[in-house]
């Protein structure tokens, strides 16, 4: 059998399609090595077969590729990269990207809005607290003013009272502070004694001022008081009669007899 007859015997197709026996295949390989025409004929049929079958594709299930890739241990990223090179998948992945990007933008926007609103909320809370504090301040100021006003009204009423005897007490020569001054308002009808401090130094610790009435040359306790500033009358004990009034600085709680060395002011009752 010459080479041309051998080629046309059908052995080429039989060998390529795997239908030849082992002996036939061995012979065919020897012929290919020996004769270029046989090799060329085989190559031509292989290309023909490949082109023919490549026109007869059926799509395998879409998930099969990733199943194969995972079985042979190829990283998923490589599969994803390979998928990206398939043009039909690009729009979908692109769309997914847009969706992902859009959702990230929305998320970022939402976070920023939340921060803004949180800031606004904190500002509002702070402002509200400020207002509450201010209002409390106003209320407390108002209370103070009312108290002061009441005191002033009382003071004016006392001073207006025509039955009131006024005893002005000035600093005695031996007074620790000669510029001291105080005034006794003595109701001649009810015999109540009110004291107005014009000027007295702040008492040292553990000491209190004490008002005395001089009755028949002897000092009688009228009451202890703390130095009060402003137009404020202190109501003390009731005294039936007196020739003079005086203030000494005594131990806290007052004394039975005055310390003459610590007399600040004294004034005689006139009329």
């Amino acid at each position: 059998m010459n080479v041309q007859d051998y080629i046309l015997s059908g052995i080429v197709e039989s060998h390529v399609l795997g239908l030849a026996s082992p002996e036939e295949n061995a012979e065919f390989e020897r012929m290919c090595a020996a004769h270029n025409e046989v090799l060329a004929a085989r190559n031509a049929f292989e290309i023909q077969l490949e082109l023919g079958l490549q026109k007869q594709k059926l799509e395998p299930p879409s998930e099969l590729k990733s199943r194969i890739f995972s079985e042979i241990g190829i990283e998923k990223s490589t599969v994803a990269k390979a998928l990206l090179t398939k043009p039909t998948l690009i729009p979908r992945i692109g769309f997914a990207r847009y969706v992902a990007a859009a959702s990230l933008l929305l998320l970022a926007g939402s976070v920023l809005l939340n921060f803004y609103l949180l800031g606004q909320y904190k500002k509002t809370i702070a402002k509200n607290e400020e207002l509450i504090a201010a209002q409390t301040q106003v209320a407390s100021n108002n209370e103070i003013m009312q108290t002061k006003l009441l005191n002033y009204e009382n003071a004016i009423n006392l001073m207006k009272n025509p039955l009131m005897a006024i005893v002005k007490m000035s600093g005695v020569p031996k007074s620790p502070d000669p510029s001291s001054m105080a005034t006794v308002y003595w109701d001649t009808k009810s015999k109540e004694v009110y004291l107005l401090v014009n000027q007295l130094p702040k008492p040292v610790a553990n000491k209190q001022y004490q008002l005395w009435a001089i009755v028949d040359g002897k000092p009688v306790d009228v009451g202890i008081f703390d130095s009060v500033e402003g137009l404020s009358f202190v109501k003390l004990k009731t005294i039936q009669k007196a020739e003079a009034f005086a203030i000494t600085l005594e131990k806290k709680g007052g004394s039975a007899t005055p310390d003459m060395e610590a007399m600040y002011v004294m004034g005689k009752v006139t009329g």
Partner: protein, 179 residues
């Protein structure tokens, strides 16, 4: 070569032997369709064909070292791996059990209707339709069922020489039909 694609046959073979994953991905994208088609024509069931195709590509990846370009083209090598794997599947006990009920009438032993039921409008089966009936049954048994010439001679009760001649003549027509 003359085939479409971004790799030449030689480049693709070298890249695959170097375990280039991109090349393997290209190989799958380019050839899974035609190989799946052949496998499906042999095993008939899409589920089974998918399993076989998976096995085929795993074997291509693992056994690419054994591919010798001197003996033939890469596609021929992959085609024969696919056909062999499909026929192995046909002969596996699991497959036969699952197909027994469905193919009770599709008995290759002497049933003349066998070739009719196996002819599809795709791939090589399409070519079968153009053969004379006595050639068609032999190609069916040889290529799609994987029987040896000796087995076919027994099955069809014809001399071995006749089997060989008919198959070869049929294959010579295939060359013309593929043009």
């Amino acid at each position: 070569m003359g085939l479409p694609g971004t790799y030449s046959e030689q480049e693709l073979t070298s890249a695959l032997k170097a375990k280039d994953e991109q090349a393997f991905s290209y190989l799958y994208d380019n050839y899974s369709g035609s190989l799946y088609s052949i496998i499906l024509q042999i095993v008939k069931s899409p589920e089974v064909a998918s399993d076989v195709l998976q096995e085929v590509f795993v074997n291509i990846w693992r056994k690419i070292e054994s591919y010798d370009p001197i003996k033939g083209r890469l596609f021929t090598w992959m085609l024969n791996i696919s056909r062999n794997a499909s026929i192995d599947m046909l002969r596996s006990k699991n497959y036969q059990n699952s197909q027994k009920n469905q193919e009770i009438t599709d008995n290759v032993y002497g049933d003349s209707q066998v070739t009719q039921t196996s002819i599809d409008s795709i791939g090589l089966s399409k070519f079968l339709g153009k053969l004379r009936p006595e050639q068609r049954v032999l190609i069916e048994l040889a290529y799609f069922k994987g029987y040896t010439h000796d087995e076919i001679a027994q099955i069809e009760d014809i001399p071995l020489g006749t089997v060989k001649t008919r198959i070869r003549n049929a294959l010579l027509q295939l060359r013309e039909l593929l043009k």
